[in-house]
């Protein structure tokens, strides 16, 4: 009823007779129920719906001038009547985990969840360690003992009931409440047969090289391809070497002890092989990029394997962009990167931490979305893991974020782009075509028109190293609000410039 009335009020074509007749029938029914002399509880419910009916009636048969649709004339939401009562509810909960075989951890399979974090008044995210919201699919909850636990969402099962794409393969490790558990948390990874040391320089460089190979499209170069294949072989060879060296230690071990021992050897082999793997791939990458060897590449300007912390995650750089930021910037001319925020939402963006976060990240950060929100549409929407920017000129209208120096963001190794909007899954493992995708700075700089899109994984920290050069608000009032929110957070500068120079 309200839908039809609002539709016609908006269209300005008059509420049709059939809607009026339907409303009259509902109204008569409500009146009839009232006349029946309901009990107190029903009376309250009737009063609730009568109030809504009166709001609709006021629009259908207006007495005097009515406000326009966008100035208070829209029939407001007819909320369902809610009352407190005691009822019996049967809830099915997962049974206790079956006894785990010796040497293994018990894993409880349950409906998937997300942590239920919340954003405080100061924009900081916190989580009490317990609150969780429902998600699609299943997850394994593993008790690691001493207040530590792990949650893993498997990849398996690609149907609609499987875990949300943006959660697939994610491992969550939870420490007891309080500070100072970081080192122990990392150590606990060992219980899951994962490498349980803080990231070493070699591991950081390995991640950096792999990301640069992908970002710069080097995987098609024969030398790099061969080096990556050989790197895999190095791990196997190191495992064999370790087995030969330490086989005597296995004498007298029980079956579970043997399994644990073998896994330990594999982890050790991974760690031992890493420096050699890095050297091998660095050399190949160097040659593919015109350097004499890996040493020359490592000493070159822009080569920096140390990841940067940004908005709650790590970002690795692209050495081809970092080597010469001016050269990366030049082809853009007067263009930059833009992101248009809808409606009056700019204030919300800064109130919630000042991170332009992807849908998935927002959930972890406690930025309110609808509870129960499904990602069944994830494949359709093009991925909840990224934020979307466009190449364009400096915006004259807001609310818009603008980076006049595109290299501020394109120096990241995790972006990819399309010349026009791309539809469908962006998951490269989905088997779906990603034809037309580019990671070339020159190609992105040549984008014209508003329909291109450049995707950045997780999001962008607007108050950190990747700050925009311009935050264009939609009105003076919005600017005032944004400035007030930033002042309350103690933010005086954005990207090295005074807040007032950036927020316009």
């Amino acid at each position: 009823m309200a839908k039809s009335v609002n539709h016609h009020l908006k269209a300005g074509d008059g509420v049709p007779d059939h809607t009026k007749a339907a409303f009259a029938a509902v109204s008569a029914k409500l009146d009839g129920l009232e006349a029946d002399g309901p009990g107190e509880a029903d009376k309250a419910m009737l009063a609730h719906y009568q109030a809504s009916a009166q709001a609709i009636a006021a629009r259908i048969t207006p007495a005097g001038p009515q406000p326009t649709y966008d100035q208070g004339g829209k029939v407001p939401l007819v909320k369902p009547y809610e009352a407190k009562a005691t009822v019996t509810v049967t809830e099915y909960v997962p049974g206790p985990a079956p006894e785990a075989p010796e040497g293994l951890l018990a894993a409880k399979l349950r409906t998937a969840t997300r942590i239920g974090a919340a954003v405080g008044p100061d924009g900081a995210t916190s989580w009490d360690g317990k609150a969780r919201s429902a998600a699609n699919g299943k997850e394994y909850a593993i008790d690691l003992g001493d207040g530590y636990s792990a949650v893993y969402r498997p990849y398996a099962g690609a149907d609609a009931k499987s875990a949300d794409y943006s959660q697939r393969g994610s491992l969550e490790l939870v420490a007891p409440q309080g500070a100072g558990h970081g080192p122990e948390l990392v150590h606990r990874l060992g219980q899951l047969n994962l490498v349980n040391r803080p990231m070493t320089a070699a591991e950081g460089e390995w991640a950096y090289l792999r990301r640069n190979v992908e970002a710069q499209g080097l995987e098609t170069k024969a030398g790099v391809k061969q080096a990556l294949a050989e790197a895999d072989g190095l791990e196997d060879a190191t495992t064999e070497l370790l087995v030969a060296e330490r086989a005597h230690e296995a004498i007298g071990m029980s079956q579970p002890e043997l399994v644990r021992f073998a896994k330990q050897l594999r982890l050790e082999a991974e760690a031992k092989a890493l420096p050699a793997k890095v050297g091998l791939v660095r050399d190949a990458v160097a040659k593919a990029c015109g350097f004499a060897d890996g040493t020359a590449l490592a000493a070159s300007a822009g080569y920096d394997p140390t990841p940067r912390a940004s908005g709650g995650w790590l970002v690795w750089g692209r050495f081809d962009v970092d080597a010469d930021r001016a050269a990366a910037r030049a082809p853009f001319g007067a263009k930059g990167l833009t992101h248009r925020v809808t409606g009056g939402n700019m204030v919300e963006l800064f109130r919630n931490g000042g991170v332009l976060a992807s849908t998935e990240r927002r959930r972890v950060m406690g930025i309110p979305g609808g509870k129960g929100m499904s990602e069944a549409a994830d494949m359709k929407s093009g991925g909840a893991k990224s934020v979307f920017l466009r190449v364009g000129g400096s915006p004259s209208q807001g609310p818009t974020l603008y980076w006049d120096d595109s290299s501020t963001l394109l120096r990241r190794s995790d972006w990819y782009a399309y010349g026009t909007d791309h539809f469908g899954s962006l998951d490269p493992t989905s088997g779906h075509s990603t034809s037309g995708q580019t990671r070339s700075v020159a190609k992105v700089a040549a984008f014209n028109g508003g329909s291109n899109e450049v995707m950045f994984k997780h999001g962008i920290d607007l108050l950190g190293d990747e700050a925009p050069s311009l935050i264009r608000c939609s009105s003076a009032a919005q600017r005032k609000e944004v400035l007030a929110v930033l002042a309350a957070k103690g933010v005086t500068h954005i990207g090295g410039k005074a807040v007032g120079e950036v927020v316009k």
């Binding site: 908006k10 649709y69 829209k74 809808t342 939402n345 909007d421 539809f423 779906h432 028109g449």
Partner: protein, 147 residues
Amino acid sequence: MTEWERTLARWLAGGEELESGAELEVRDLDGALAFLAPLARHYRVADGVLWVRPVVGGYEPLEGGLPYAFSLNEARARALPLDTVRLEGDEIVMATGADQVARIRPAGPETLQELQRWDTFVLTVLDAEEEAALDRVEGDSWWGRWS
């Protein structure tokens, strides 16, 4: 207004009680279906680009008593280049720069059902300001309620 745009406006308007609508189908060049969703009832043409809002991100909220809602951050405005736009029978067809072919046509039974849920959400749950913000068909992200 060109013929294809008149056709699009007519499909999107959806009749007296929004009983019809339009859907967007996108296929890769090899013919594989990449995307199918109904289109919200607004569009914008600017600088050689058609802006539409595919209706995605629907879900059943766990609280608030609403039967169905949408993530407005997921249902963001999307762009289709108009360089090759043409009417082909009962379809508006255009090639995208991302090696895909987009077709807009009257909504089928499956997409129409989701579109009607969207209409209910927009017309009865959102306030007029939120609705107007959607109607402008711009914005790469949505913050605040229903994000």
